[in-house]
Symmetry: C2
Subunit: 294 residues, 2 copies
């Protein structure tokens, strides 16, 4: 196992006032904010099992307000999808996208545009369709602590960094969730020869050039209660048009609506739901049928 | 392996203007900033080796502007202290302190006081005594990407969260670096029965109640070039008074100045220097002599 940062650029900032700081009592700390900043990099952490049972590594990309912690231990303390796939013999790359977690974030408004947006405790519950679902609500407070601020203005930088990650560690399989549906689709469109399959778990967006994915098999996975949720039914319809366009270009998109397969009650945070291993198994089976698992 | 968030509190914010956001084109996103925020939690990630060779887990706490990534792969791609100690049979807890990395951060000035301070590329070089040292300067750009913003106003919250971490996973050995010297000393003073040893790698501060550590063995480790560096020689002298006070109270403090032991050229980022494994070995030997390793 190991980790690295990748992507980003350097920016020089001028015209700021230096703060007066004593980090050790009596010892002035020299801090000049008018210097060079490393910005828009991302962070990746990899875990290689002792016995590898697949052809390519698996990249797990998180959604909005979240970090790689999404795929680690579930809020109620069970093993997450990271452990599931490592135990099944996949080398797994977990990442914190640009602006999140260990990727760090840049001064705003100097570098990042606009203000950060925070996920509140009230909002997460509705936004992720948790109420009455298989989500372990008894551990909701633990889940809310995972949220980190996000911007809405960093898509270009995030896609650039993820593209560099793919150039470094792929060919691979990419599994995206929610916001990273956009990132996965855009990066796969830019590097279709490097992405051997794209698993889209409730993506919030598709890409811009669907024909580029005609040779990249796609699996889309949806949980429960989507038709009753005005926001999620709209999102599903928007991304549905993208799947259609990929198919029209000759591509393959399998859409798994879990309730129709007899798997009931899943929230948007499928990888944390009580039946998270069952859903991981569905994905694992699809990857196996696609010839990506020995 | 697994992870969790711990500590923190909930804060309700009022009086903010809701941003207008469409995260999926055509689908308005409902975001109300006047709700409840989870703030001041921290993040911990643990790795348990298949064969445990010690009595207690080892907690690795990072310094200012940094995260748990400090102890992962070195900037030039070698295995870091996380891997070193896991391979030596220690269960290791890596953490991102309050305000850093996967711990997330809170709205400011609403919750966090003051502005975040960024580490620039120019500043890191001098601050961490890297020039002409064993630090792998060819990978300096990689190191700079690890830096995340920090505040100077969160010590109390950080100590509270670390204390909860210790209550959850200790008895243990804690290894601190730089800024976390303060946190390690303060938490060990509050929980002396739970901290079986405190390894302080170039701490920027000691604690407030040295007598509390009379039964907690301390190892302090210092790299090279400190006497020639006005800032670091002052910091070392300030913390030196704390060691003296611990000794006066009957405690044990071993101070290892690496150059005097024939280990030359270490920077402040000892765990990333080219001889990082050699220094880890020095710490490992001390822990063994203290009866903490089988």
């Amino acid at each position: 196992m190991g980790s690295f940062h990748i992507g980003g650029r350097e920016v020089v900032i001028k015209g700021k006032t230096a703060p007066k700081v004593e980090l050790t009592p009596g010892v002035p700390s020299n801090i000049d904010p008018n210097e060079t900043y490393a910005v828009e990099q991302m962070y990746a952490q990899y875990f290689v099992p002792s016995t590898v049972k697949c052809k390519y590594p698996l990249l797990l990309w998180h959604g909005a307000w979240l970090t790689g912690a999404t795929y680690e231990t579930t809020p109620d303390g069970r093993e997450g999808w990271l452990n599931y796939f490592v135990k099944h013999g996949w080398p797994v790359y977990l990442s914190d996208a640009v602006e999140r977690g260990r990727a760090g974030w840049a001064p705003f408004p100097d570098v990042f545009t606009g203000d950060p947006i925070f996920l509140t405790k009230e909002n997460a519950r509705a936004r992720f369709r948790l109420e009455g679902s298989q989500f372990p609500m008894e551990a909701y407070d633990q889940f809310v602590k995972q949220a980190v601020p996000r911007w809405t203005t960093n898509n270009k930088a995030t896609i650039a960094a993820y593209t560099q990650l793919v150039d470094k560690v792929c060919p691979c399989v990419i599994l995206v969730h929610s916001q990273s549906g956009l990132f996965g689709a855009m990066v796969a469109e830019a590097r279709p020869e490097k992405v051997k399959a794209l698993v889209m778990v409730e993506p919030a967006n598709g890409g811009a050039n669907p024909a580029a994915l005609k040779n990249v098999p796609i699996l889309a996975v949806y949980g429960d209660f989507i038709d009753q949720d005005p926001r999620w039914s709209k999102i599903k319809a928007v991304v549905g048009k993208y799947y259609e366009a990929v198919r029209m270009a000759g591509g393959s998109v399998d859409i798994y609506e879990l309730p129709k397969m007899g798997i009931k009650g899943n929230s948007h945070m499928v990888m944390m739901d009580k039946n998270s291993d069952q859903v991981a198994g569905v994905i694992q089976n699809w990857l196996t049928r696609r010839g990506l698992y020995n």
